[in-house]
Symmetry: C2
Subunit: 236 residues, 2 copies
């Protein structure tokens, strides 16, 4: 996948758009990318090398429990690391939310399990361990806000890593529960990260304040009783 | 839509090429959106009101024959016209490449038929007729290049209509056969349209010269022996 180190386009002329298909109303602390303000933030951002590879590979989680799996698929396709041949698309190659379950991954979790309870951060890290990538997991109980920002900003600036965040929607003012999604950009002026939600039927890409996102990642996973966090995925 | 001989040709091509996120090598007449030149064209374009709704709803065709179905789904989700509740995502609503086959649509064609031979422009128009949208079909044998450009540019400028083109890849220098995909922008300076290909495993979004696209739409559909063309979909 091609990429450029810095997006140079001016998007101010893009009109503010109506609410997209199936989307819930955004809380006031979140700014939709496709709003006038969201476009202005995008224009001034200098941490967006990951943006186009992610947007060109973004897909909707295939059911309500698949946000971790979908986020992993988007990152692997954006990284373009040895995608498998997908029977329905042969001879072409791509990661999908189905073929991601290799025999090795099935020892960690199964589609049946994911359908019941999703994946957690530990499972996601293990699943990524079966792919030819470097996956660094950070939990918010042993990582500082400063460390989160610096490592995420570095990945977004260089385009060499993709960041998947695991956050609690309610802490961020959204409806729903725990969610995985990639982040695609950061803007230093407003201190906002761009979450490209894989539940596209719920929320469009939104700019969220860094501290709001941090607090949403600090929220404990009610199933594992562990704090949430983030994963940075890069080539070996 | 593809003959066996073309299929084998594609296979050989894939083997010979370096892997680019499943993407084939672009012919020289096409400019990738995420290249430096592609970004410059995007910056100067003033016909891109459709761009964000399309990019936020773009999805990959679910098999090699589903480009028409996928393009229709992307346009309906971008228009946000009364999406159905999808069981896997209930209570949320969205069009999918499966739920698009309502009882009314199944009288026009079926997933089994689409798996065998895709859809043609006439079928696509009829399928859209079962949804609450206005769908205007234009065939290149009774439409002029000027009419195509004017109607597509109007839709892309105002954001009030989504344009799906049905073109022959080979005429445009690509590998493969007939294809449907939405176009998301137009740039007057270079006279290029932006095709956001639903076969994301083959090609990234590309800027194509207007006349090259027109010739690719003039190519006869080898199954129906009719010229190809385009559809503009808007709210009622």
């Amino acid at each position: 996948m091609r990429r450029i180190s810095q997006y140079i386009g001016c998007l101010l002329c893009v009109v503010a758009l109506p609410v997209l298909a199936g989307n819930l109303k955004l809380p006031k602390n979140l700014i939709a990318l496709d709003s006038k303000e969201g476009q202005e933030i995008f224009q001034q951002s200098t941490y967006k090398a990951d943006f186009w590879p992610l947007m060109e590979n973004i897909e909707t989680q295939q059911n309500l429990m698949y946000s971790g799996v979908a986020s992993m698929v988007v990152a692997l396709n954006a990284l373009n690391v040895d995608p498998p041949t997908e029977p329905a698309h042969a001879p072409y190659k791509m990661y999908t939310q189905n073929n991601i379950f290799t025999p090795a991954v099935l020892k960690i979790t199964t589609p049946t399990n994911v359908n019941k309870r999703g994946v957690n951060l530990t499972e996601l890290e293990k699943m990524l361990g079966d792919y030819p990538v470097k996956a660094l997991m950070y939990r918010t109980n042993d990582t500082s806000y400063k460390e989160f920002k610096e490592s995420a900003m570095h990945a977004l600036k260089t385009g060499k890593g993709y960041v998947i965040v695991n956050f609690d929607r309610r802490t961020m003012g959204e409806k729903g529960g725990g969610q995985f999604s990639p982040i695609a950009a950061y803007d230093a002026t407003t201190n906002r990260f761009l979450i490209v939600d894989v539940a596209r039927y719920m929320y469009p890409p939104v700019w969220v304040n860094g501290l709001d996102l941090w607090h949403a990642m600090k929220a404990v996973d009610t199933r594992t009783h562990e704090p949430r966090g983030f994963v940075i995925i890069s080539k070996l």
